[in-house]
Symmetry: none
Subunit: 193 residues, 4 copies
């Protein structure tokens, strides 16, 4: 029987509140630049309380990443591509990725910043990238096999698309018409006929 008790619910809420608060500050000031006191003050609690929910500041960081990790979300998207035209599928995937980046902008900033220098996090970064790359590459291979795309190295295409999406996000470009143009260019190339 079951379900969470009232108390467990409150506990979850408090935990989420602390995660939200910490995520905002981490994104704005960096992990090193944010003190436990900052987080406690912003959340309106005492410093000590954070140690009831998280073993350390490091643990708090990992808890944020674990909770807001968007990968389960992403993997579904590519699975349902079916037989629609590649241009349409790639555009939809780009748009969705853009959307996720916007929604998770704070997490993204935290992760990029920390991944750059922390050796133990670089490992995780490679995994993440491999997943996204894998999803895309497998899709492209299927479309080449189906004859919709000309034979080429799909890994390169995947990296170009991901790079263009990231570059657009980082430089604040609106999704429209940028992503459509990217996909068009990818499909047709820029050489004069």
């Amino acid at each position: 029987m079951g379900g969470p008790t009232r108390r467990e619910l409150q506990k979850q809420e408090r935990r989420n509140q602390l995660l939200d608060t910490a995520r905002g500050l981490f994104a704005a000031q960096g992990v090193e630049g944010t003190t436990i006191k900052d987080i406690a003050d912003a959340a309106g609690v005492a410093q000590g309380l954070l140690y009831h929910y998280f073993a350390s500041k490091e643990d708090l960081l990992w808890a944020i990443i674990a909770r807001d990790n968007p990968f389960t979300d992403m993997s579904e998207i590519m699975s349902n591509a079916g037989d629609r035209p590649a241009r349409e599928v790639l555009l939809q995937a780009s748009l969705r990725a853009y959307q996720i980046l916007a929604e998770r902008a704070e997490l993204f900033r935290i992760v990029v910043r920390e991944f750059i220098t922390r050796p133990e996090m670089r490992q995780g970064f490679k995994m993440i990238q491999a997943i996204a790359l894998g999803l895309l590459t497998r899709y492209l291979e299927a479309r080449i096999a189906a004859g919709e795309l000309r034979p080429h190295n799909p890994d390169v295409t995947a990296r170009m698309l991901i790079g263009a999406v990231l570059a657009g996000h980082l430089t604040g470009r609106p999704a429209e018409p940028y992503l459509a143009e990217v996909v068009d260019t990818l499909m047709e190339g820029i050489a004069a006929a």
Copy 2:
């Protein structure tokens, strides 16, 4: 008469030594994660000496950026494009950018990391990106006008190329054949004829 004295030479050498040491540590551990003591120990000098050359840790960071800034280097490259085929020019530019990123990998890691969270540095970042984008965009416009490339939005192409170069660098891809494939894809597209 003239020329740097022995003492001035030594001063420059010492200064460069400290900049090199700091750059390596900043890149490896982040600016926050590197202490003045770390740098002094690695350079084999006393902590106090750093303050003989740089007013503060912050000042030291800016001194690294100022010294290793690759912009003058980059702008020359696109100016000498002349009338060679676009495929060749874009590939050469990509290769050179890759090379610069490799040479300045440490600076690049430092800068990206710090730019992500420091507001005063974001400004600088936008400038940098605008320069690179501008160089590329102007070149593409010229080739469209010359009829070598089909009419399209060159800003998108520029971002795609930059994104692909950055993504390749960040994920440790060797330049060959990656960059050639990127440029080919950009020129011809991936759609089946």
Copy 3:
């Protein structure tokens, strides 16, 4: 309900303990000559704790001054002069001032020392002196108006009395018979009849 809780009481006690300890050391060695470690060690606490109670060493100094400031104490004295003979009132005021200087000798030493060189404190010094001078001057004016004292510039008399009290304190003269002689001289002069 109400009143301070146990914890609030302890907080006040601890705060006062730290102020007492710091005051003693500041008086003995000067503010610059006293380190936070000195204070913490003397109080038997960790250095960090001082920053739980005071934002900085400077703040600690001001907190001592604020707590031990004798002005409310002093202003009452002159208000209750009533119609007693001036000789009696001036003597009583001198004695009381002497007493305060003795009680607050540490604060006094600190304040004089810091006021001499810190521009921002000189301001405060002028205010303090103006208050004491004002109290005395107003009293003397009233007694001149009442015909008890001969017409003269009361500001000068006030400064002479204050000067004599300070000089006596600084050179360690016992209050008796010094202050009585000072007041007598002030009342009668030293010229032969």
Copy 4:
């Protein structure tokens, strides 16, 4: 035979320049608040040079005090009192003391500040005060014996005059008419006839 050489003169000038520079900074910022670099920069020389002239910062402080000590100057004044009226002599002495305080204001500030907390300097302070007090007291005793002043404790009068002079100086009062009023009050008292 004879006279300081050119080089010795230059040496003296340089020494005096350094003493002047240091005195100004010590007075303005306190001894602790002044760095050797401050002094060297203000004098336009290298830090190391100060150690050619003075063994340490402490030594530099004592050298200032030794050079600018005003006592020889002061003792002559009271010796030549002769038989002039006491009012005139006391006023002249007060004026001269005021003048000396003004001329030596910097030294005075330094000395007071350091004397307050340095045990080894308190000793010197007592000597100084004893000298001034002695000169004045002996003069007053002579005038009492001569019948010009009524019998009283001259030590008290001396302290009152010194106190009034110091208080006036510290609070920035102009010499005129303050000192004349002080001497008048001292001579005649403030009681109504």
